[in-house]
Symmetry: C2
Subunit: 273 residues, 2 copies
Amino acid sequence: MQETIYLNGEILPADQAKIHVSDLGLLRGYGIFDFFRAIDGKPIFMEDHLDRFENSARLMNLPIPENRDTLRAIILDLIIKNPHQLLGIKMIMTGGYSLDGYTPAEKSNLIILPKPFSFKESRQSMKLLSLEYQREIPEIKTLNYAVPILAIPKMKAIGAEDVIYHKDGFISELSRSNVFIVKNEKIITPKEGVLYGISRKHVLSFGKKQFEVEERAVSMKEFYEADEVFTTGSTKRVIAIGQVDNHIFSEGKIGKVTSKLQELFLEEEKSYA
Amino acid sequence: MQETIYLNGEILPADQAKIHVSDLGLLRGYGIFDFFRAIDGKPIFMEDHLDRFENSARLMNLPIPENRDTLRAIILDLIIKNPHQLLGIKMIMTGGYSLDGYTPAEKSNLIILPKPFSFKESRQSMKLLSLEYQREIPEIKTLNYAVPILAIPKMKAIGAEDVIYHKDGFISELSRSNVFIVKNEKIITPKEGVLYGISRKHVLSFGKKQFEVEERAVSMKEFYEADEVFTTGSTKRVIAIGQVDNHIFSEGKIGKVTSKLQELFLEEEKSYA
């Protein structure tokens, strides 16, 4: 059975989720998105994601066609109409149907796509390819992923499943998740030039109850000398980074702090579900 | 009457030019495009544009679903089906309908959109806003225009109609056209970090028959001290840049070399039409 989606005020079967090619997200990459999960019908960290979505919209000058209450009601309705134990919900908003193919329209296009979701349970840790890059507008969750997608063949060649960005000797983030290092049980994550992830926010929040926590620039040297390295994101929760290029972290094992945070993350989620 | 377009093997009325939201151009900005004009049914510099389109596709690892002969036949058919004296033809190709919303599909989505075109005849020269920026993959005509579109309110506030990019003290290009400076009747245009425009190519080619021509880095200092500054592009031909921010070029007049190149450009076009 196919999913039920939302498109500009209409609730439709997924195969009818079509937009005209004059959409400015398609023509010019002008748009934003957000993604979160629902477990057993309960959205996880939804208000955080709606906060960020609204903030991305404001920074991109994109009017949201629905207010927060309506948006929430639409999402909850879609969760009921798509009864999967684990559901991913992607919200996309673009500059609308542009008359001249460049200038944003007065009305944004808003799409909400629920889809069954599953974690890659088999993997214990991630292998990454390092990539010199800085996202253009890092604080906004924009639609632009051309550079990391272009790197997929390079990733595959070394068996990596994602990239980690660095620029001017400092690391920033993975293509779709944040990065943390652990040194002497202190948790450190880059502060500038990154997307402020919702999982990142929660890890910082509950992490500081048990560990010392710092948000600041992290050099590549410090990164490679870390005791543990992990990534956080809505599709990943907390996952150890086991290898970047040829460098192996934590002697190939999951670090103690990473393990503890994985446990705390699941507890945090349970308080929502 | 609405236009007739091409979408993945089908010839359709423009209002049916709709793609599913799982398109990777929309979801992740992963795609390329090109644009050229037809005058009185004759495409201008079409083979150059097809060369560039194929090159963009190759660099982005996007398979083109049609070979050159078929592509040319489709375009010529669309020109006949859309009998406008001046027609703009936009070709868009994306990473296709992605299964996981990130990895390019085996089959690209190819869209060809003809649309009546008109030059902004009223303007004698352009006013620009300077913007510190470098396109991410400058040699590919990608779909990513988030940064310049985000600058539209700033542009409008000073009455500018486009931006000119600079980085580390050097200028590169406008958002959708190339830039040239003239100093002592020598024509100079940036060589690196720019899209290799088809109009740029023709101006360099016929320009060097009458003037000295250089492709090399152009500093901002050199730019602001130029005798004349102009831009070239398929939607503009050759247009003088009259002002950038508060700086006025050529005492507000169209320079001699710019005028001459405008004349030669029209002659070059006529040899195709």
